[in-house]
């Protein structure tokens, strides 16, 4: 793997919300069409908080320099079934005209773009437990490729009784979300933003049945750490979005044991059995990591997601600390014409 890393990417804002109620996020009424789907509502509340934390709330429309990446896999289930059941029961006239847009998975990202005036890349990522992590990876890659200077990224899902009854796990599903503001170093520095963490590395792979899953994922993780110039011994925590039991949890455990040998293995923070299913799990793992980095109870936290479909995603979050100071100094010098 020969990854180029044009600039550092920081997380400068975070918003976490629970529930999924229909109350509107503050200051986000403009431009709405039709009923707001509950997951979009939830992510909008997170986004409003994250932007405020990042010092971007006053910016109004974020415009073409910002993008949005929403990690959602199951957001549309209720909307699809409500539309289809209404049509089956009452015919076409029983369907609300604006119910249809909520049945497509990118409705959530679209709503966020409309609400916050985001006119850069507008993407939805669906990879079950890895959705939120993949949304963050997508955002970082887009910033690296120069397609945006910043992104609102994360994921989650509103509660759904249908999904709950279908979930093999005990307890409820969804009802939680987290969104993050990711920014390239130039944008963050020139705004004087205070980073919560540096997105120091990321990797994705697929673990097909019959393959050497732990070996593939382990190699991926080793490469990630090498490219991020972070030693395995310096990772104190792994925040996991993987289902807490089952084959994926076993593979994850094996990968961690392989990547972090010896007595100083990181603390593995497993997700809760209750409310964290699919899209919620990754975003909550990331918010836990940021909490640890903010205290600071950790310097480097690895986010890990092994989805029930075979996806493996890793994101390495590091305390911005001294490296940030050096980067900010360099950007400031460049902006002042010193380079």
């Amino acid at each position: 793997m020969t990854e180029s890393q044009p600039q550092q990417v920081y997380i400068t804002g975070m918003g976490v919300a629970g529930g999924g109620e229909q109350a509107s996020a503050p200051g986000t009424k403009r431009g709405l069409q039709g009923r707001l789907e509950p997951t979009a509502e939830l992510l909008a509340r997170c986004t409003a908080v994250a932007l405020a934390r990042a010092g971007l709330a006053a910016a109004g429309r974020l415009g073409p320099r910002f993008g949005v990446a929403a990690g959602v896999t199951l957001a549309a289930v209720d909307s699809i079934l409500e539309l289809d059941c209404a049509a089956l029961r009452f015919g076409l006239s029983g369907v609300r005209p604006l119910a249809f847009p909520n049945t497509v998975l990118n409705a959530t990202a679209g709503r966020l773009a409309i609400m916050f005036g985001i006119t850069g890349p507008n993407a939805t990522l669906a990879s079950a437990e890895g959705s939120a992590l993949d949304a963050m990876i997508y955002a970082r890659d887009m910033i690296w490729q120069g397609r945006a200077v910043g992104f609102v990224a994360g994921g989650g899902s509103a509660r759904s009784s249908r999904v709950e009854s279908a979930a093999a796990e005990e307890g409820t599903s969804g009802g939680l979300a987290a969104m993050f503001v990711l920014e390239g170093e130039k944008s963050a520095c020139l705004r004087g933003a205070v980073p919560l963490a540096e997105v120091a590395g990321a990797a994705m792979a697929f673990l097909p049945s019959g393959g050497k899953k732990a070996e593939i994922a382990g190699t991926l993780l080793e490469n990630l750490l090498r490219q991020a110039h972070v030693r395995a011994a310096d990772i104190s925590h792994v925040a996991s979005a993987t289902a807490p039991s089952g084959p994926q949890a076993e593979i994850e455990r094996e990968v961690i044991e392989r990547a972090f040998p010896g007595p100083f293995a990181p603390v593995l923070l497993r997700r809760n059995r209750g409310r964290e299913l699919f899209d919620t799990a990754g975003s909550l793992a990331a918010s836990r990591a940021l909490f640890l980095l903010a205290r600071p109870l950790a310097r480097n936290v690895l986010l890990s997601a092994f989805s029930s479909f075979g996806h493996a995603s890793f994101v390495l979050l590091c305390h911005p600390g001294a490296r940030r100071a050096r980067v900010y100094e360099r950007v400031a010098r460049a902006a002042a014409g010193g380079e």
Partner: protein, 410 residues
Amino acid sequence: MAGSKKRVVITGMGVVSPLGGSLGEFWRGLVEGKSAASAIESFDTASYRAKNGCEVKDFDFARLAGCPVPPNMGRASQMAVAAAGLALADAALPLEEVDRTRVGVSLGTTCGEIQVLERVADNEVGHQAGCEIDPCWWLSVYPACSIPASVAHWFGLCGPNVMIPNACAAGNYSIAYACDLIKLGRADIMLAGGADPISRVAFTGFARLGSLAPERCQPFDKNRRGIMIGEGAGVLVLEELRHARARGARIYAEIGGCGVTGDGYHMTAPRGDGEGIARAMELALREAGLAPRDVDYINAHGTGTVVNDKVETLAIKKTFGRWAQDLAISSTKSMIGHTLGAASAIEAAACTLAIVNRELPPTINYETPDPFCDLDYVPNVSRRRDIDVALNNAVAFAGANSCVVIERVQ
């Protein structure tokens, strides 16, 4: 643009379309101006004004794969796996000889495995009484990520595996991200594209929005009345140029650049001034290092709705200025319908074949010029023309715009 100077080329294509299950049938159908529209058979349309769609009537995964359909594989996944298989065969890629951790999958969709949820709905309203559906089953099949996962499982691909369900722009978004992953060094080869099955929910939704054409799709025609729902899958084998040359691969064309933008304006309507679509085209051209005069052909999003075609025409004029009149533009949706998340992937294949075969597919059902759509839409008959650069436009609900530049490799 930051990043490396890696170049991404197309070395294989696979299309499962309403015009047939092979690339050859697809292309012949396009240049012959064949319409795939016919009465929908997948579900009952008795209560709808529109009855037609573009289904892949003869699709038989079990026959193609030579084995029964796995119980957890829906129609979208079946079509995606079939298209991926065709693309890999077309690319003559010996999978057993390549590092499969460097081969990834990036796919898009609108509805995904929605037919699974349609069965759940049938069950809920009692249309299939006595046919209880195991909720654990639909939760394991419906999620859109099962589509690229099925492709990766089937071919044993361990690289990045991404699902970007960006509705009608999903194919282009997936191609764009696949290119980025290659350029960033995270994969050498990506299977990129999209898949969507015919969907009762989508048909109902578009019907309720008043966007369904009753009998045929007439993009850019003055009397156009809407879209024709279709289904299918398109997959491109994207490869880093040096990697492709090193293995002696046939190179169809190069992905010169991509532009992805958002309108941030409306859930179902594009911005009236076409700014978002124009910006996507401008960004794609900039990334490709091309000027408007360098472009020969645009495969338009061209859905056949009154607003979309008008706005896209405006956006093309905005981007190309006086060069807009010299462009050839066509909408292959006039023939294969709107295959939603697969559309821009299939259309990327059409652009590539247009470059390779030096022939432009037409816009069929074009009868009456619209003063608001006054460009050259290659009406009704294909046209021989040497082209070096084609643009593939796609826009989606909530204003997700995209453009991919496909160019002849010099």
